[in-house]
Symmetry: D2
Amino acid sequence: MPFPGTPIRTGADYVASLRNRGLRIFFMGEPVSEPVDHPVIRPSIAAVAATYDLAVTDPELAAAASDISGVIVNRFLHVTTSADDVVAQNKMQRRLGQLTGTCFQRCVGMDAINSLFSITFDIDARRGTEYHSRFTTWLAAVQRLNLVVGGAMTDVKGDRSKGPSQQADPDMFVRVVERRADGIVIRGAKAHQTGCINSHWILVMPTMRLTAADRDWAVVAAVPVEAAGLTYVYGRQSCDTRAMEGDIDAGNAQFAGQEALIILDDVFVPWEHVFLDGEFEFAAELVERFTAYHRRSYVCKSGVGDVLIGAAALIAEYNGVEKASHIRDKLVEMAHLNETIYGAGIAASHESHPTAAGNWENDGLLANVCKHNVTRFPYEIARLAQDLAGGAVVTLPSQADFEHPEIGPLLDKYFQGRAGVPTEWRVRVLRLIENMTLGRNAVGYLTESLHGAGSPQAQRVQIARQMELEEKKEFARRLAGIGE
Amino acid sequence: MPFPGTPIRTGADYVASLRNRGLRIFFMGEPVSEPVDHPVIRPSIAAVAATYDLAVTDPELAAAASDISGVIVNRFLHVTTSADDVVAQNKMQRRLGQLTGTCFQRCVGMDAINSLFSITFDIDARRGTEYHSRFTTWLAAVQRLNLVVGGAMTDVKGDRSKGPSQQADPDMFVRVVERRADGIVIRGAKAHQTGCINSHWILVMPTMRLTAADRDWAVVAAVPVEAAGLTYVYGRQSCDTRAMEGDIDAGNAQFAGQEALIILDDVFVPWEHVFLDGEFEFAAELVERFTAYHRRSYVCKSGVGDVLIGAAALIAEYNGVEKASHIRDKLVEMAHLNETIYGAGIAASHESHPTAAGNWENDGLLANVCKHNVTRFPYEIARLAQDLAGGAVVTLPSQADFEHPEIGPLLDKYFQGRAGVPTEWRVRVLRLIENMTLGRNAVGYLTESLHGAGSPQAQRVQIARQMELEEKKEFARRLAGIGE
Amino acid sequence: MPFPGTPIRTGADYVASLRNRGLRIFFMGEPVSEPVDHPVIRPSIAAVAATYDLAVTDPELAAAASDISGVIVNRFLHVTTSADDVVAQNKMQRRLGQLTGTCFQRCVGMDAINSLFSITFDIDARRGTEYHSRFTTWLAAVQRLNLVVGGAMTDVKGDRSKGPSQQADPDMFVRVVERRADGIVIRGAKAHQTGCINSHWILVMPTMRLTAADRDWAVVAAVPVEAAGLTYVYGRQSCDTRAMEGDIDAGNAQFAGQEALIILDDVFVPWEHVFLDGEFEFAAELVERFTAYHRRSYVCKSGVGDVLIGAAALIAEYNGVEKASHIRDKLVEMAHLNETIYGAGIAASHESHPTAAGNWENDGLLANVCKHNVTRFPYEIARLAQDLAGGAVVTLPSQADFEHPEIGPLLDKYFQGRAGVPTEWRVRVLRLIENMTLGRNAVGYLTESLHGAGSPQAQRVQIARQMELEEKKEFARRLAGIGE
Amino acid sequence: MPFPGTPIRTGADYVASLRNRGLRIFFMGEPVSEPVDHPVIRPSIAAVAATYDLAVTDPELAAAASDISGVIVNRFLHVTTSADDVVAQNKMQRRLGQLTGTCFQRCVGMDAINSLFSITFDIDARRGTEYHSRFTTWLAAVQRLNLVVGGAMTDVKGDRSKGPSQQADPDMFVRVVERRADGIVIRGAKAHQTGCINSHWILVMPTMRLTAADRDWAVVAAVPVEAAGLTYVYGRQSCDTRAMEGDIDAGNAQFAGQEALIILDDVFVPWEHVFLDGEFEFAAELVERFTAYHRRSYVCKSGVGDVLIGAAALIAEYNGVEKASHIRDKLVEMAHLNETIYGAGIAASHESHPTAAGNWENDGLLANVCKHNVTRFPYEIARLAQDLAGGAVVTLPSQADFEHPEIGPLLDKYFQGRAGVPTEWRVRVLRLIENMTLGRNAVGYLTESLHGAGSPQAQRVQIARQMELEEKKEFARRLAGIGE
C-alpha cells in the first residue's frame, strides 16, 4: 500500500496525501513538479476533496459501513449491499454535482470496484481462479486507508474499425508484454483518464469485447498512481489557462475536472494486484457490468444542471426579466429535461438486483436510457442557459479590464443590469454560464456527457440488446389476432 | 351498496356485474340499451375485465391485502402502504398496457382513492369534519365487493379564462344546488370520463383551485353509476364504427378505451357519500395530490408503447427489412423514448413519502416530469411506427375486400410481403399500427397522453412550483463567488 | 384520347367528365357503380375540382400558356420554362392546401410530366429512341383537353429486401409480359395511388433503380384510367365512413384525398403511349428527377398546415384562452415549423436549372431537405394543434347526439365555450382538428407526408449523395492547416 | 472621409488601411497599440480581408456595380437593386462562411446600409427631412473608397424590463446629449460590436421601438472608427489566448470573429452624418427592416456549418469509421439541418419586394424563420460533430507536448488513428472541431447564432406579427363550415 499511514478523512487530509509523490506529469510541454500547487490542476483536486468533505458533513449520504474492511468508508469505495445503496450513489452524485458544478472524478472507480467485485467472483466460479479474493484483499486495504481509486478503461484504440490484435501497432490497447514469476508487465496507454492524477490507485481494465486472439489484452490490474513507468499528459481544456488569470474569468474558480492520458511504459504489476489475465471471454461482460453502473452514474450531470439552471435564473433576475413568461418557460424546460435524466437514473438504481457475488447491480436498460438522455439534454439545457444569458456571455471584457483604473469604472457603468445588483455579480454569473457551456466545465457537462461511459452509439447497441423485442412482438401479435 | 352480492373475482364476473343496470346512455343519437352487448362499447369493457383477470393470474402484481377492509382487493382499489406499493402500481399499469394496447380505465379511481384518503384526513384534522371516516367506510364496502371506481374530475369549463363562479352559466362546473337533511343535490357535467359506464361508482371531485366565491363548487361525492339523474353520452372516437365491421379493420378488436360525458341532472347524494362540501381551500391541494399520483400513472403508456414497438418490429420483419440499420435504429429510438417515460414514473413512485393519513404518495416533481414526457414521446414513437409501417398503413383495402371472392385473391397476392408470411398477418399488424396511431387507440395513446391528468401547461405550472429555483440559484452563487 | 370533346375548364366540367366511365372500383367489398355519387369518394373529387376552379379564379397562379400545345393549360399540366414557373408550382400548391385542407392529388402527374419530358429527351439522345416525340405528342393532346394526369410509380414490392427480378412472384413490380407489333402488355399493381380514380390518364413508371436483370420491369406508359384490365381497390382511411353520417363529424365535409390500389391485369398499351421499354439504366435517373420535383411539391403541406394553425387559433379563441402566453407561443411554433417547410421548398424551386430538354428542374438537395422536414414537422404541428384543442377533440359526441331532441339541448349547454360563440362552432372546429390529426385528412397531412415521394430514409440516401462531402472536407482541411 | 487616398481593392490593401489609426483599444487590461499586429485580434482582421479577396477572385459573387457611386463596390457596400441581388448576398455569405469558418463581420453594415437607404427615404417623404440625400452622399463616398462599414445597434440596456427613458442611468442607450449648430454630441455604449475595430465607419442606430419620451435616444449617425471619444474594449472569447501559443491548439489559426464594447464618450457628429434625430416613431420600423435583412444574413452559418460537417467527416475517416451506418447517418442529419437553414434564407431573399426608395428587401417572415432555425440547429450540428469527434476533442495534450522531445514521440504513437494518416492531422481536425464547438469560433457559430440579430424571443414576436393568423382562421372556418 502506498500510504501506510493514517486513513484519509477530510478534504484537507486528502490534498495532503497527494503531495510529494514525484509523478511524471506534463502540461503544455512542461513537467509539472507538484500538481497540488498548479493553478490549472488545483481546482480538479478541490473537486475530489469535496467528496471527502461531504462524507464528513453528510455521512448518511456519502459514507457507508463496509463488510469487506469492517470500517466506515467513503461511499465511492463501498461495495453495494442493497438497492438502496445503489440509489444512494445517485443521490450523492447529484449532490456533488450541485456543490462543485463539475466532474468530481470518483465514479469510474466506484463503478469499477462494484463491477470487478462481481465479475471476479464469476470468473473464479467458472475458471477456478482466485481473482475475487485477491481483489477483496486489495480493496479492504484501500478501504482502510480511504483512498481514491480511479478506473482506467478507455484505450487509445488506433484504427477504430479494428480490434486489439488487428492493429498495426499492438500497443493501441493496453496489454501484457511479459509474464514473470512475481507478476506481469503491461504496456499501452489509456485516454481521457478522469481524475487519474488525483487518485491513489488506478484499476486498469479492458475497454471492449475481446476474442481469443486478444488474450494478451485481457488484463485487469490495480496500479499505484506513482508506479514506475507511468507518465501522465494533462489534456487541454477549453479556457484552461484562465485559471492563471484571477478568479472571475474562470467562471468557476474553485472546481474543475481533470482528463489526462496515462502512458504505461512497461509497468510491473505483482500477481496480487492482477484480477484478470487472459480470460478474454469475460471482457465483454465486465464492460457491460461496468457500463451498466457507470451510465447511470451520469445522474451527476443533473446536479451540474441544477447549477446551470440556477445560474440562468440568476442572470434573468439580474437583467430584470425573470417574470417574463418566455424566460420562466425556458427555466421550466431546463428543469424538465434535467429531472428526466435524474428519473431514469433513479429508476435504474431502484430496479437493482443482487449479483452472484452478493453486491447489487442496477438495471442495465434503464441505465443506458439514462446515459443516452445525458448525451442530448445537457446540450439543450446549455443552449437555453445561453439564451437567457444574452450575448454578453461571450463578449464580456476581462477581469483585468474591469479592474483597470480608467476603463474599469466605465465598464462597471455600462454592464450594470437591474438596479441594486452589483455589476460584478452579473459578470460573475455570466462567466459561470460561459464556464459551463463553452469553457472548462463545458468539457465535463457537454462533451464528457456525450462520450463518457461510452458514446451514444454504444448505448444504442445496448438498448437494442436489452429491449426485449421478441416479447414486444408477441404483445402485438396477440392484439392483432396473429396466430402462432 | 349497489351490488350487495358476491365479490367480483374474474373478468367474467365483472362483465356479468355490468348487465341490466338500466343506465341512460346515448351513442350516435341512439339510446344504448345494454352496453355490454354493444359492439363499440364492448372492447372497452374487455379492457377493464383484463384488470380482474390479471389479479387472478398474477396476484402479486395486481392484488393486495387491504387493512381497510381486511380482504384481498384488486390493486386498483388498494390504499398504498409503502413506496413498494406505489411502484407496484406502475408495474401493473405497464403490464396492462402491454396486454390490452389501450386504456384500461381504472387509474383515475385508484389515484382518486389514494388522494382522497389523505386529503379527507387532513381536512378533518384542520376543520373537525368527519370526511375521512365516511370515506373509509365507503371504501371498505367497495373493497369487499371488489368493484370498479371511476373518478370524475374534469368539468366542462365553459369559458376557460373564467372560474366556476364567474361563468355566465353556473353549471359549467359541477356544484351543489341544494343541501338537504339527508344529503346534497349536485348538478353539472363531467367531460372526458374515462371508463365511467364501465364503473360501479364514480367519485366526483373538483377540477381546479377554488376561491371563497366558489364554495358551492367545492364538492366531493361518491355516486353509484346507476344513480337517478345521470346521463352518459358516449364520445366518438376515430374509427369507432369499425368495431361493427369485423375484426381486422378495427386493428385491435379486443380492447379499446371509453370516454363519455356524464351529465348530472340534480343527482342526490346522501351525506355518508359526501367527502367534501364547501371547504374550497382544500380543492387545490386535492387536485395537486391527485395529479401527483395520476401523472405518474401514465407509465401505462410505456406498456402501450411496448405493443406499438412490437408491431413496428413485426411489420419490418414481414416486409423483409428488419436487418436494415436504419430500421433497427428507429426501433432503438422508440424503445429509448418509451423507457424514458417509464424511468421517470418509477423514480417518482420510488421516491414516495408517507402522508399524515398513513398512505404513501409519490414525488410530485418527477410525476409531472413523467407525464410531460408522455405528452411528447408517444407522438414521436407513433411517427416512427408509421415510418416503419410504410404507406400501406393508410391505404389498405377493407377486410371485406380481402374476403371478396373475385378481388380477394388479387389483394392477397399484391399485398404479400416476405415469403412465408401470410398476407393477412401483414394486414393485421398494419391495422394495429393504424389503430394505435390514427384510429381508436390513438385516442388513448396520443391525445389522452397529451390531455389526461392535465394538459402540458398544467405540468409546466407544477414543475415551475416544484423546481426549487432558489436552491439552484444558491448553488450558482456559491460557485460564481457571489456573496449574498 | 378518351375525351375527344370540349376541353375541361371549370370544376363542374371536370366532375361531369368523370361520369359514366364504367370503371371497375371496389370499396369495402362492394363494387362502386358511379364514384362521382359515392359519399366517401365525392370529397376527393371535389379536391381535384378545386384545381380547375383556381385556374379560373386565379389564372396567374394556376394556369400557364404551353408551347407544347399552344393553349392555356392548368399549371398541373404545364412543362416548366423558367425557375419562376417552378416556384409558381409551389405557390399554387400552398394555396390549394389552404383552400382544401387536404391532398388535391395532381402533383404526381405534374412532376411526372416534367421529369418524363427531360428524361425521354436524354434517352433519345443516347439511345436513338423516339420516346420524347411520342411523349410530347401525347402530352399536347392531353393539354388541349386539359385533362387530369395521375402518376403511378409505387409498386407493391413484396419482399422489400429484394429487387423486381429477385421476387418469388415476378408481378410484385409492374412489368411487360408481352411485346406485340402494336404495343405492349403490362401486369402488376401500383399501391397508394393518389387520385387515380379521379384522373383521366395514368403515367405508369418504375419505382426504383433497376439492373440489367430487371429489363422487363423498365417500362413507362400512359394508360387511360378506363383501359381494359384495370381494377381499382379504394383504400380505407381513418374515419372514412363518417362521410355517410352528415357534415359535422367528418370535420372537413367538402374535401378529402384518395388512395387506391391499381391492379393492372394484362393491360395493353399501344407503342405511341410507351415512353420507356427496357432501358433499365435510366430508371434510377427518372426516379431521381421525379423525386427531385416531387419532394419539393410537398410544400402543399404548408398550405394544409395553415388550415390547422388557423383551426388551433380558432379553438383557443372559442375557449377564451387566445391571449395566454403559452397558447400564443405554441401558435408561433406551429407557424415557424410550417414556414420552415415552405422555405426549403421555395429555395429548391428558386435554385432551378434548365435541363437538356429545355424545361426547368429544381435543386435536388434542397428538395430532399424540404421533404425530410415534411416527414417531421406536420406531426409536431398536429401535436400542438391537439394540445390547443383540449381533450374534447377526441371525446365529442356525434352530430346525431347534438341534434337529438332530448340530449341535444344538454350537449349544447355543456359544450359551450366563450360567451357569444355557438357551441356548434366549437364542435365544428374540433372536428376539423380531429379530421386533420387523427381522421381522414390526417392520412394526407401526416402519413402521406411521411411516405409520399419516398419514405424518410429515401431522402437521407439522396442527401448523402448530394451533400458534397468532399468539398466540405476540403474546407475543413484548409482551415485546420492540413496539407495534401 | 478618413481615407481620402486610393480605394481598397485586396485584402492586403485593407489590412494596410487599418494601420496607424491610433484607436483606443483595451484587451485584458492593457491598451492595444496596433491591433493589426496583435495575435488575438489579427485573425479577426484576416476574416474581413477575405471579403476583399473574394471580390477579386469571384467578382460575380462578391462585387457589384453601384448606381449610387458609379463604381464597382464590394457587395457588402451595395444597395440591392433586385431580388437576385438579395439572393446573391446569401450566396456570398455562405461562401465566406466556408472559407473562413467564422464570422467575417460585414453583414451588419451591409444590412444597415440597405435598411437605412429605404427608411431615410420614407422619413423624408413623411417628415420633409433630408436624411436620404445625406445618407446617399455619405454612402457614395464610402463606396468610392470601398471601405468597411460596421453597424452599431445593440445598446447595453441596463434593466431589460425598462425602456431608454425609464432607466436609472440615461446612458444605458446611446442618446443625443447636445445639439449644436454643426452637429450633435452622442453618449452611451454599444455592446457585442462585431468587427467594429476592423471597420472604417460605424453606423450608430437605435436598438428597439421608442416612445415619445425616448426622443433623444432616436438617433442614427455615421461615425468614423477613429473619432474622438470612442473607446473599444475587446471582449474575451473562449480560448482566445491560444492564438498566442502556436497554430495547432487554436484550431483555426487563420480566422476568428471580433466582438467589442464601444463606449461613446460624448462623440461629436456633424449634421451631414446624422440620418435620424428625434423621429422616434421610425425606430421600430428601422429595427424591423434591419432585422428582416439581418436575420436572413445568418445563412452565413450554413457556410460555417459546411466546415464543421467537413471536419466531422474527416475525423471519422481518420478514425477509420467513416463507413459505419450511424456515422454516415449523423453526417446526413447535420447536412439536413444545415441546408434547412440555407433554404429558409434563400427563400426569404427570393421573395424580395422593392421598397419605396427603390432597393429590394427580403421577406420578413421567412427571414425570421431562417434566424430562428439558426438559434437551434447549429447547436445540434455541433453536438453531432462532437459525437463523431470522440472524447479526444476535449482531452488532447497541447501542441507543445506533441513537440516535446521526450513525450512528443509517445503522443504521436498513442494518438494515431487509421494507418496512413499522420497523427498531426487527427490532432488538427480535432482542434478545429473544438474551436467551432467550444472554442473561439463557437462564440460565433453557437452563441452569436442565438443572439445576433435578436434573441430567439425577438423572432417569435415577429413571427407572431407576420403569421397572418386571421387569414389562417378564415381557411379553417371555411372548411369547418363555420359561418361568419
